[in-house]
């Protein structure tokens, strides 16, 4: 009997995961509390009820849990690409998701709650009243579909949850409809806002896996059942203050309501409910974020330097091909430059990272990011260098030829040094633009400076102060290059100075 009930599973996903000793679970720290977020008291730590859930599941499976940062709206694509084993971040159970991934049994259920401004007498206090009103929510969520059906003017936000409630406080929207945990953590701690009690609909969260990973799915379902049965899930949810009747029904938990203290919620309210004065943040909070920002800056810098190291030689080759090569090469160079320059960097990155795997080429996130930025900026560099080459009069090349220098020698010793003086300022300008554009690579799971900022801003609800901090970091990285460029330019232009 036992032998018969064991499925003849051909996939080795569970065995592979056990052999690796680690469960890589994908989540977006920018999404915020109480799911997965940076501890506002100690931003070096990732906390949240899903962090606790992931480590409990990993414990049952006998492995370690390792979170992998991924952009929330890309989690399922990243999962299918193989960047992590499971996606665990408030992923709603919905039929259309089952077409691209497998889902575990639900681990949490929540009602949707409407939040309004206390000072607004005409605020919509029910879903019906939301018809024609501006209501904020998360894109692709059950709440969005319910609002659309109700005829509301839906406003979706790609940033963190904090922005959605901040807009409501500022009067840019009339209400917010979101899952109960979010409403409690972001709406409930804001004195100007009121979370309305009536539950509207119900959303369930499940863990997403690749469709083929059948054995892992069974193991996850068993683990979730165990954790529900022994009360672990309930303890986690109670500590985070998000235990509710919907989840009790889902987990078939008939124990009476407990008086457990929602200690994690209290900690959150103490830390994020009141944003300390600027001086206090500068003196106490920001220094604790130094290593996080430094790590983000290191990623930004390494990525930008690698990308630029690719963009410069490729740009030189393209510029020379465009100006001096025979016609077919010239046409190729022009085609490359126009194609790359004429399409958005974001599209190119998505094609490289999510498109190439369809052809069997799966790039490492850093490689994909550096390659995408480098290939893109090569086109801009090529045009800078071409402008430099054009600035050198043609007879200079002939003068070099008449001295019997070969064309490569003439380019290197006569044309390039004169062209460089013209090309360096725009090239440095491009490098600084590249530093900033590198923030797009958070798409490919890299946490660079901007992603560090958005994550922290959402977990501490401090957008302005941290914005200044991240601006200073970008300046600190960019200014030395601007200075180096001015020196190089002066050196290359020393023949233009007045006679000694």
């Amino acid at each position: 009997m036992l032998g018969l009930s064991t499925p003849a599973s051909a996939d080795d996903s569970l065995a592979a995961l056990r052999a690796r000793g680690e469960l890589r679970w994908g989540a977006d720290a920018q999404g915020g509390a109480p799911y997965v977020f940076q501890d506002p008291m100690d931003p070096n730590h990732l906390i949240g009820f899903e962090v606790d859930l992931a480590s409990e599941i990993a414990r049952v499976l006998g492995v370690r849990a390792r979170p992998v940062q991924g952009q929330w709206d890309q989690l399922l694509a990243l999962l299918n690409r193989g960047d992590f084993d499971v996606a665990l971040n408030g992923i709603e159970v919905a039929e259309e998701k089952r077409r691209i991934v497998a889902l575990s049994r639900p681990y949490y259920a929540a009602p949707e709650l409407l939040t309004i401004r206390r000072s607004d007498p005409s605020a919509p206090r029910s879903l019906d009243a939301a018809r024609g009103r501006r209501v904020g929510t998360l894109p692709g969520s059950l709440a969005e579909r319910m609002l659309a059906r109700a005829g509301a003017e839906v406003r979706t936000y790609d940033g963190g949850q904090n922005e959605i409630y901040a807009d409501l406080v500022l009067g840019r929207s009339d209400a917010v409809l979101l899952d109960a945990p979010i409403a409690r953590y972001y709406g409930g701690i804001e004195p100007a806002l009121e979370v309305l009690a009536p539950s509207i609909g119900e959303v369930r969260y499940a863990i997403a896996l690749r469709t083929a990973d059948e054995s892992l799915r069974e193991a996850l379902d068993d683990a979730l059942a165990d954790l529900a049965r022994d009360g672990t899930l309930r303890r986690i949810y109670e500590r985070w203050g998000i235990w509710n009747t919907e989840t009790a029904a889902l987990l078939d938990d008939r124990r009476s309501a407990s008086a457990a203290v929602a200690e994690e919620f209290e900690r959150w309210r103490a830390a994020a409910g009141r944003i300390p004065p600027f001086a206090e943040r500068v003196l106490e909070r920001y220094p604790r974020m130094l290593t996080l920002f430094a790590r983000g800056a290191a990623v930004t810098l390494a990525l930008s330097l690698t990308a630029f190291a690719l963009a410069v030689p490729l740009g030189v080759a393209l510029a020379i091909a465009r100006k001096y090569a025979p016609r077919p090469f010239r046409a190729l160079a022009v085609a490359y430059i126009e194609f790359v320059r004429g399409t958005p960097l974001l599209v190119q990155l998505i094609m490289l990272y999510f498109g190439l795997p369809e052809l069997g080429v799966t790039l490492d996130p850093f490689v994909a990011g550096a390659l995408g930025l480098g290939l893109n900026y090569a086109a801009a560099e090529a045009e800078n260098y071409r402008a430099g080459l054009e600035s050198v009069p043609t007879p200079q090349l002939e003068a070099a030829w008449s001295l019997n220098l070969s064309t490569p020698q003439a380019l290197r010793f006569v044309i390039a040094p004169q062209a460089a003086r013209v090309a360096i300022p725009p090239a440095v300008n491009d490098f600084i633009a590249l530093l900033k554009d590198s923030s797009l690579v958070s798409l490919v799971t890299l946490t660079e400076l901007t992603k560090t900022y958005t994550n922290l801003a959402n977990s501490t609800r401090d957008h302005l102060g941290l914005g200044l901090v991240v601006a200073l970091w970008y300046l600190a990285i960019g200014l030395p290059f601007a200075w180096l460029a001015r020196r190089a330019e002066a050196r290359l232009g020393r023949h233009l100075r007045t006679a000694p």
Binding site: Q396, E398, A399, A400, L403, N404, F413, P417, H495, L496
Partner: protein
């Protein structure tokens, strides 16, 4: 004979119009020849053909042991490209606009090609270049950039740069076009000085007085045809 040009012919690229028609002449080693004529008469084209900067379709150019035959068609252009490189080894050209390299000092202008083409060590390239520049009166301008030289000094620096490659023939394109009378005398003096070294010189100019003052032999080039003048 150092230079012998036989029936040289050159078309406007892509048109049947001829720039040079059956141009023939000979120059004895060490002489200074002037070619005069109106603008558009083909003077500069002739120089560029001799200097290996432009191909020619008809005729022959002989410089000492080198014989270059005009070619047509793509294959011909490739063969001609090799021949032109050989020409450049023996022929130096002083451009009308001089084309000194502005980012290099006077001395660096003169040693760039000896170092990278003749593969001389820097010291071996600099020694004769310093002597040459000193003889041409630029001994105190070695470290100056072209930007900071007078017109006459630039002219001499360009001549020195060409001579540093030790050509057998030195060509000048309108060497006096931008100079006033006193500087023309200075250039004439420099050309005589170079003649003393045994280098064959060919000067293209529309300045008849200058041509008469410096040339051993004078030709006139009009509408692409050459005739003996004066």
């Amino acid at each position: 004979m150092t230079v012998r040009v036989i029936n040289l012919g050159r078309r406007h690229p892509g048109t049947p119009a001829r720039v040079l028609t059956d141009v023939s002449f000979e120059i004895t080693a060490g002489t200074l020849v002037a070619i005069t004529g109106p603008s558009g008469g083909g003077k500069t084209t002739l120089l560029r053909c001799l200097a290996g900067l432009e191909p020619f379709e008809h005729g022959t150019v002989e410089i000492e042991d080198l014989r270059v035959v005009g070619c047509q068609g793509a294959g011909g252009r490739r063969a001609n490209a090799r021949a032109r490189a050989a020409l450049r080894q023996r022929v130096g050209l002083v451009f009308q606009s001089l084309e000194l390299f502005p980012h290099l000092t006077v001395l660096e202008n003169c040693v760039l090609a000896p170092i990278h083409v003749r593969r001389l060590a820097r010291a071996d390239a600099e020694r004769p270049a310093r002597d040459l520049l000193a003889r041409l009166g630029l001994g105190d301008k070695l470290a100056a950039y072209p930007q900071h030289l007078s017109g006459g000094q630039c002219q001499r620096a360009a001549i020195a740069r060409a001579l540093a490659m030790e050509p057998r023939v030195l060509l000048y394109d309108e060497p006096t076009s931008a100079l006033d009378a006193s500087l023309k005398n200075e250039v004439a003096e420099t050309l005589r000085q170079v003649r003393g070294t045994g280098v064959t010189q060919l000067v293209v100019t529309h300045d008849l007085a200058f041509a008469d003052a410096v040339a051993d032999v004078r030709f006139a080039l009009e509408a692409g045809r050459l005739r003996v003048a004066g």
